[in-house]
């Protein structure tokens, strides 16, 4: 029996409705195992700008710091999307949260569920059996480098990586591979970029510490092809921030729906668990948002809290929902269930 504080940051769009289902499932877990989860809800993103002028209010950041884990919904609203040059934007809240909480590793598992192969744009025989995980560096690189304009109007963004920034996430990726299929692929552009050459050097240096793990190296352009051509060749993929942004969203097509994919962002202190699908504002409030990505993110949260049995149970319950077609419209157009019904079904199986 454990007691844990979970900060919930529902955010914008469909964030609140999918978080509600994930919380429901976590409550079912608590009840079944006699744990106590204390949930508190906090503003982030466009709704935080509207309420406070700040996409990441101090109160929210303090609550995250005080929590044992953070469940995050999604941020973003069309009124900001159309103007990426606006001075205050929802994604600044997300980027600042990553930096302030030191969330240097974003971890995204991608699995092809057999029952859902027909929903993928890829041919089933190409993707069946896919089970990979992407480790994306999240607090460095071109996202957080110096940026601006020179006197003559030239724009610049600086990409930098230090050895320790690479080492800490590389260790996580090696450890993950060592517990999985012993295969790590570094995705870089070492034929062009100096930062990529440093990534390669560091990974090569660390490799002997993980003698069972086979390491290979793939240029990012080739990786963008291989992920679609032959995703089952991959076990653990490791890459820097910008490349990770691109290839992890690309890899999500394998699953057939973004509504299935969870993520964890971890670092030195508290970790954040988040469905990858974003705020999807067009779907807000209609009961059509798929809560499974949020629920699977809650499973990763349980794993992170050391509650592996509980996490496994949540994943099994999600498998039940998938196998029995208790799914939202994008995966079950002929007999769809609502966000709420899918969440309740999963909670019922706990």
């Amino acid at each position: 029996m454990v007691t844990k504080k979970i900060a919930v940051l529902p955010g914008d769009g469909i964030g609140p409705e999918v978080c509600r289902q994930a919380v429901k499932v976590l409550e079912a877990v608590a009840e079944r195992f006699g744990h106590r989860f204390a949930f508190s809800s906090h503003l982030v993103g466009a709704c935080a700008i509207d309420a406070t002028g700040n996409p990441l209010p101090d109160e929210t950041l303090a609550a995250c710091r005080a929590a044992d884990a953070v469940l995050f919904g999604a941020i973003g609203d069309p009124k900001y999307d159309n103007d990426p040059t606006a001075p205050v934007r929802p994604e600044q809240g997300l980027l600042r949260m990553r930096k302030e909480l030191g969330l240097f590793a974003n971890i995204r598992p991608v699995t092809a569920y057999t029952a859902l192969l027909k929903h993928s744009p890829l041919k089933p025989e190409r993707i069946e059996g896919t089970d990979l995980v992407i480790f994306r560096e999240l607090t460095g690189g071109i996202y957080f480098g110096e940026k601006g304009r020179t006197a003559d109007g030239t724009a610049y963004d600086h990409c930098t990586y230090s050895r320790p920034e690479i080492e800490r996430i590389a260790h996580l990726a090696f450890q993950s591979a060592a517990g999985r299929r012993q295969h790590l692929t570094l995705v870089d552009k070492a034929n062009v970029l100096e930062t990529s050459r440093l990534w390669r050097e560091v990974v090569r240096e660390l490799a002997p510490q993980y003698p069972t793990v086979a390491v290979d190296y793939l240029f990012v352009d080739n990786a963008a092809m291989q992920i679609i051509m032959n995703p089952t060749q991959f076990d653990v993929l490791l890459t820097e921030n910008m490349f990770g942004d691109i290839i992890s969203d690309e890899a999500s097509v394998i699953a057939g729906s973004m509504g299935l994919l969870p993520s964890a962002s971890v670092g030195a202190a508290v970790a954040v668990f988040e469905p990858i699908h974003g705020s999807y504002p067009q779907a807000k409030g209609q009961g059509i948002a798929n809560p499974l990505a949020a629920i699977l993110s809650a499973a990763m949260l349980l794993d992170h809290l050391g509650l592996g049995t509980e996490a496994e149970l949540v994943r099994e319950a999600v498998d039940e929902a998938i196998t029995n077609h208790i799914l939202t419209p994008e995966l079950n157009p002929s007999a769809p269930y609502t966000t709420e019904q899918v969440g309740s079904y999963v909670a019922f199986w706990i």
Copy 2:
């Protein structure tokens, strides 16, 4: 009747064998139309390093400058690929050629051939009808910015874009869209990068000059998904160097084989035409390399020389080969033709 000097840079791996077929087809065109094409062959890449120590010898560069067009094969050899930190590497020749010849725009059409849909990893109904072209900026951005290591071993790569660098390729992309389906999509990461914000500003400013062209904007992570989920939505895609490297290789999976995809790199002076497939050293000398990408690159070369009728005829001959399954093993495993046979078949149809 025209007279043109064509510099051929076959390069490494399968480069020479596919260039040979493209030259054969160009010779058939010359004969049929009474043109005179004077071909000359020059070293580039690993073979140039082996022969001269330099991946782009001065003689080669001078020959390109003196030519009306350049036909390029591929560069790269495993002995260099495995060590991207080696001081002299084949791709330096390619990057220097782009810079020296001012090849600021790389143009890559991607078409889904109906007869080949079964070879794509994507479901036929998703890709049927795809007809898009990617304009990738080729001489700026993080590829050519300052790079190095600081005293404490931190690596850096600087990405910069000036207004004129964006304007010149944006005009080309707008013009292309105006002659196609009137739709331009800028792919950027304007929610994070200052350079992307400048791209957006410039494209927005130029748009009124092309009133028939509808412009939209897509973040690169979303683009990486959309290209696989729904490629028929695109007409002309415009993007910066690094994003273009990734999404153009990614988009190549739509065609079912990289062996089908041509490219043109254009700038202020001479233009370079190149299959996108790379040197594929494992296939070298076996007669299994697909020459169609090189042949379609030759068609783009003819277009560029103002020989539109001739270019169209080459494309029709390629369609004949595809429709009649006169194809190399990757597209015709049960009754394959050799590189040479496919080239001769296309030349025969001219």
